[in-house]
């Protein structure tokens, strides 16, 4: 057994003397005006954010809220792109818009590098991960992903109605990322709780939120210890052994990156698979065309990613400034809505329509600029394989009960209940 001193005690205990960040009062309840009081955590937004975003883009393209201690919501593609590219004035030190702001000293590393990192550290932390997530590297996961998709559909046998979100979509990224990190496949249900706690528990009381985040890091620390004792060919062992600037990574960096890969790897792709199946269930002409022309699937998939982009990010304003006509204050949030950007008619023809053979599709579903989703090639592989296998096995299906479909709340949007009738 190797002794790795970095993990011999809980790294979280070392942070006692450091600045603790700031909390603001939690405000929930119906939104009075989306232009001045928006909240992405209210049920109206979860159910259908697109009319809200389209309305804001017309009448107040950079909306504001006093909730979450103050924040802004740009809905035009040009504004979203400008902020994504401007790492000088907007920090990634927290990318979840919540009622807690990490201290300024948390930059440039942040809690879950590299997504929470700013330049120049960001580049080096990201470079470590890139080789594991190239199209070629993630291609090695394709045969296992395809076999998993078949086995999930085998289990539908005898059922007329299945929940495609619960019984299909969620399992695919869960299993793939567990394999890549070297976590036990049977821990899937725990991952779901971690995801919900991190991304949907934003308005919980602080003590509850802290307790739930602790459970995630307790789990990761147990996995780190297991990998120190039993090194293997996976991302956890890779991160434990990785070096930056001539030394091993800080323990908080190892655990933070593992948390990122686990959380960001699961509900994003789960949402993309679910939203695509939801669309195909309610639009028979699109479904029949893709079944008849399987070569169209990669093109259609990009359109689903544009129109139902699951991921919204956040930034923090670095200093007081005037920005495109609004007065931003230091530490104001930016809710960086790639879904809103993707439906801007100034950027996309027929922006509100789903055009499954759209030829020009510069969508921003995986972000723009230096924080381009590191797992985008993995997500595209999983989405393509999930849809290929589903459509080959189940070419005809409909929404069993449109009113029973539920969508996740918060920055990652996708179906969480999706009853489909298999015809």
């Amino acid at each position: 057994m190797t002794i790795d001193e970095r993990f011999s005690r809980d790294f979280r205990e070392d942070s006692g003397d450091e600045p603790v960040g700031t909390r603001n009062p939690i405000v929930t309840g119906p939104v009075s005006d989306w232009a001045t009081d928006f909240s992405h955590l209210e049920p109206e937004w979860a159910a259908d954010p697109y009319p809200i975003q389209d309305d804001l883009r017309q009448r107040c393209p950079v909306a504001h809220t006093d909730r979450f201690g103050g924040g802004w919501l740009p809905t035009r593609y040009a504004d979203v792109a400008e902020i994504a590219y401007d790492t000088e004035r907007f920090s990634s030190r927290s990318i979840i818009m919540s009622n807690f702001r990490p201290p300024r000293e948390a930059a440039p590393v942040g809690g879950s590098p590299p997504i929470s990192s700013d330049p120049p550290f960001h580049h080096d932390a990201r470079k470590l991960l890139l080789p594991a997530f190239t199209k070629t590297a993630v291609g090695r996961q394709e045969p296992g992903t395809r076999a998993l998709c078949h086995s999930l559909i085998d289990a539908f046998s005898g059922q007329d109605v299945v929940d495609a979100a619960r019984d299909y979509a969620q399992h695919i990224p869960m299993r793939v990322i567990a394999d890549m990190l070297g976590f036990p496949a049977e821990d899937g249900p725990q991952f779901r709780r971690f995801v919900e706690n991190t991304l949907e528990g934003v308005n919980l009381p602080p003590e509850e939120r802290i307790a739930r985040m602790s459970a995630l890091f307790d789990y990761l620390l147990a996995q780190i210890h297991d990998h120190i004792d039993n090194p293997r060919e996976d991302l956890t062992t890779f991160l434990i052994n990785a070096e930056l600037y001539g030394r091993k990574l800080e323990p908080s960096h190892v655990a933070g990156t593992m948390a990122l890969l686990l959380i960001a790897g699961i509900d994003t792709t789960w949402s993309a698979i679910g939203a695509s199946l939801w669309h195909l269930a309610k639009e028979p002409a699109d479904r029949e065309r893709i079944v008849a022309e399987p070569a169209l699937l990669p093109v259609a998939m990009e359109e689903f990613l544009r129109a139902y982009a699951p991921v919204t990010m956040a930034r923090l304003v670095k200093n007081d400034m005037q920005w495109n006509g609004v007065g931003m204050k230091a530490d104001d949030w930016i809710l960086l809505s790639f879904p809103a950007a993707n439906r801007d008619p100034a950027q996309f023809d027929r922006a509100a329509e789903i055009v499954i053979d759209r030829e020009v599709n510069r969508h921003a579903a995986f972000g723009l600029g230096i924080h381009r989703c590191v797992g985008s090639h993995l997500a595209r592989m999983e989405l393509r394989v999930a849809l290929e296998v589903w459509l080959a096995r189940i070419p005809a299906f409909t929404l069993a009960d449109p009113s029973a479909v539920t969508w996740s709340t918060g920055q990652i949007r996708g179906p969480r209940t999706l009853p489909l009738r298999l015809v």
Partner: protein, 84 residues
């Protein structure tokens, strides 16, 4: 940088010179749309960034692939250059 655009298609390509593809590596973030859409013209490096295969000259019959790669790069990093 945020104008709408279309894929320019010509039934007959009049070639005075050659057409080449180029990637602006200052802009490329490794989305991989170019090597997805035009795998005979682009590949990826070991970090997933796009690279032009060979001399980048677009052979006859691959003009549409090249245009798709240009039209789908989220970072507008792929360029088509006509050389006379």
């Amino acid at each position: 940088m945020h104008r709408k655009d279309t894929v320019h298609r010509k039934d007959t390509v009049h070639r005075e010179g050659t057409v080449k593809v180029r990637i602006n590596s200052q802009l490329c973030q490794g989305h991989g749309r170019c090597y997805d859409l035009a795998p005979s013209l682009f590949g990826d490096d070991d970090e997933g960034y796009g690279r032009v295969l060979g001399d980048g000259i677009v052979p006859a019959g691959k003009e549409q692939d090249a245009r798709l790669a240009v039209a789908n790069c989220p970072e507008r990093a792929v360029e088509l250059i006509e050389e006379n």
